[in-house]
């Protein structure tokens, strides 16, 4: 179990370009499809990650690790998700000056960045399916929360932490 956690989070750490939400599809594949976590729990982690300090990658690794295998699982998963960064950054910082402006590197990023956008978009779709649909019917109340929170952030610049707290309160009141 610990070894499988370790390998999954090494993969997630190695391919989480652009940080944060772009890794959701990979977590879905590695963690949810293995039956270690439901999509509902994955969304819980995302909300908690938004409300607590620290990067999403670390938060999710720690959370999944501790649920699967206690404190030891949390340590193993967190170390695994950081390890690829550590190795790549160590290598990059040694050859830093030479490659920063290298056109192959910028070409690589030119191609990867649109994929990161697609990854996040597919994450939105995946999460929306679980968040908005109950028993094959779209929940109107959930749509209302979606629209309200969108305007709160986009138009009125409300901080995401407050939006999540507000949505939680609304949830308690209307469901």
């Amino acid at each position: 179990m610990l070894i499988r956690l370790f390998i999954s989070f090494i993969k997630i750490g190695l391919f989480s370009f652009g940080g944060g939400y772009a890794m959701i599809p990979l977590i879905q594949q590695e963690i949810v499809n293995q039956g270690w976590l439901t999509t509902e729990e994955l969304i819980n982690i995302i909300s908690i990650a938004e409300m607590t300090p620290g990067p999403f990658a670390i938060n999710s690794a720690t959370y999944i690790g501790i649920i699967q295998n206690g404190i030891l699982g949390a340590v193993i998963s967190t170390v695994a998700v950081v390890l690829p960064s550590f190795a790549v950054v160590m290598a990059l910082s040694t050859i830093f000056a030479r490659y920063r402006e290298h056109r192959l590197l910028s070409g690589l990023l030119y191609g990867i960045r649109p994929v990161v956008v697609a990854l996040i978009a597919s994450a939105a779709l995946l999460i929306a399916k679980t968040a908005l649909v109950a028993d094959d019917v779209v929940e109107i109340r959930s749509i209302i929360i979606l629209v309200l929170s969108f305007f709160a952030v986009k138009r009125f610049k409300v901080h995401p932490i407050l939006v999540i707290l507000g949505a939680a309160l609304l949830g308690v009141l209307i469901y």
Partner: protein, 189 residues
């Protein structure tokens, strides 16, 4: 002397790690203030390079930056102490929350609150798509890559890892075929 620097690296990044809500870009100004202004470990010029490079390596930007800065200040041990300081606050907080949420997640009130939060999370992710789309998808090629990747991910059932690698390869081939064309290297936001 070395021990003191290592301890300072750990404490500085523990502080940064404790206050980086929402992760990522929100904490770049905080890193700059601590590392450049307060500690004077890194010059203003170098920090720009470091932060740019931290965004090109895989993994969380906050974590990558701490590793870069730690390495620059005190070598491999510096990197180790910095990244441990950066990660530890999340680790402690999440461990506590995970245990409680797992225990009380079935509580009716908690379940309703979590159900209310879910659509708001969808909103936050949609906003991230819009924000990143602006800086990453801006010409014909990047639009095609983004659309193709989206379709492959949704309908193709293809591993995200393969899609990332393919996108990178298309980018490299594009740069090799049109080497003179200036590739914009804008920062992802």
């Amino acid at each position: 002397m070395k021990g003191k620097i290592l301890l300072q690296l750990f404490c500085t990044f523990f502080k940064i790690g404790s206050f980086t809500f929402g992760g990522g870009y929100a904490m770049l100004p905080l890193i700059e203030r601590e590392v450049v202004d307060n500690r004077r470990w890194i010059s203003q010029q170098d920090i720009v390079d470091i932060l740019a490079l931290a965004q090109t390596a895989p993994g969380a930007i906050a974590v990558n930056s701490s590793i870069f800065i730690g390495k620059k200040v005190a070598g491999v041990w510096g990197a180790l102490f910095a990244v441990t300081g950066m990660v530890l606050p999340s680790f402690i907080i999440i461990s506590i929350i995970a245990v409680y949420l797992h225990k009380y997640g079935d509580n009716v009130m908690v379940a309703k609150a979590l159900k209310g939060i879910r659509p708001a999370v969808v909103t936050l992710i949609i906003l991230a798509v819009l924000r990143m789309g602006k800086s990453a998808v801006y010409d014909k090629i990047t639009i095609i890559i983004a659309l193709a990747a989206f379709i492959l991910l949704i309908f193709g059932g293809i591993s995200p890892i393969l899609v990332i690698i393919s996108g990178g390869m298309v980018g490299v081939v594009h740069t090799l075929l049109w080497p003179r064309k200036e590739v914009k290297n804008r920062d992802v936001d």
